[in-house]
């Protein structure tokens, strides 16, 4: 009876030690970007516009010269390719410890969203089919897409096709986009799509 109690106590000690190691080890690994000086800075964000007029007031005419002022590369975890995405001057390009100063107006996309995804070790949920600015209509119309203002990013298109009303991949980092004022297109069954606008 006493021997049984000792065996049980030892088992619980081993379990507790393993849990502690996992907790401390996980914390150490996940926070390495922050440990290297990255910060989620939240500087210079424009107000998220509502509707067509709000978008034009905030970001100008579609396809204007500021709509692809900034660019960055995102690596797709499934095929290892680097995709260059371009985006509006107001949504990034401001210098931080991790992003060089490029004359942009905020830290939103290239420092904050990008860094938050990496710091949380969620890069494995960025899959192929990645695109940003494109002067293009919404399919079947002659109305400009939010991509035409450089305020939209498509991510993991191969795994999250248009018309699919659930998400298998982007759901792991959608909260980060939302936390930086982006709207997720899953609401209209376009789970690859994130945009810095509502009501459009």
């Amino acid at each position: 009876m006493a021997r049984e109690r000792r065996v049980r106590a030892r088992a619980w000690s081993v379990l507790a030690a393993a849990a502690l190691v996992a907790l401390l080890g996980g914390t150490a690994v996940a926070g390495h970007w922050a440990a290297n000086g990255w910060r989620d800075e939240h500087r210079g964000y424009p107000r998220r516009p509502y509707g067509y007029r709000g978008i034009v007031r905030t970001f100008g005419a579609p396809c204007n010269a500021r709509t692809d002022y900034n660019s960055m590369y995102l690596r797709a975890a499934d095929n290892g390719h680097y995709y260059r995405i371009r985006f509006h001057k107001k949504l990034g390009g401001k210098g931080t410890a991790f992003v060089p100063e490029r004359g942009g107006r905020s830290t939103n996309l290239d420092n904050d969203v990008r860094g938050h995804i990496a710091n949380g070790h969620l890069d494995r949920y960025l899959r192929s089919g990645i695109w940003g600015y494109l002067c293009r209509y919404i399919a079947g119309t002659t109305r400009y897409s939010t991509h035409a203002w450089g305020i939209a990013v498509d991510v993991s298109a191969v795994d999250e096709p248009n018309g699919q009303c659930h998400s298998t991949v982007n759901r792991h980092h959608a909260h980060i986009w939302k936390g930086h004022r982006w709207k997720w297109g899953r609401a209209w069954c376009d789970p690859m799509h994130f945009q810095y606008a509502a009501g459009y």
Binding site: A65, Y137, A139, S145, V158, G163, Y200
Partner: protein
Amino acid sequence: MRAVRIATVVLVAVAAGGIGILRAIGQEETNGRTGAPPAATDPTVPSAPMDMGTGERLALVVGETFASRERAEAANAGIQGRLGHLQGFYVAPVAQFVGLAEHLGARDGDLVLVSAFRTEEGAREFRDFLAAMGVRGRITPRMENRGFVFVGLGQERAPDGSGPLVEPLPGAGA
């Protein structure tokens, strides 16, 4: 008793108003859940006129050719699913463009998946987008457009950077 009846009426009215508000909010979110964003069907969003570009010499990004409209439309729909809500190709007759038949050479039919541009930069951007999404498209030399069907003009930046290019370039015909 009367007070209870009045309170009930007030409660029902408030609940009905609340449901109405929630439905209005939800309408923007779902838009019928078709994959198209709210702007696709919002009557307050302006539509650009269909710029036919008749008589202009245009740079084309072309995909495959097909013998029947049904096959062309089905293939185009399959491609569209990979492009999100961004407009992909248009289905047009090969004969719409002077010299396209000769340029394509042997082909599967007289219908082609195409998107036309007034600038080489516009054509390159679209081709690169297609490639990023795993779709093939190639750029042709400039060809005169007979203007049979709309092939997507208006989807490229004007040279002065002011916005979309919505008129012919000087010396490009038409």
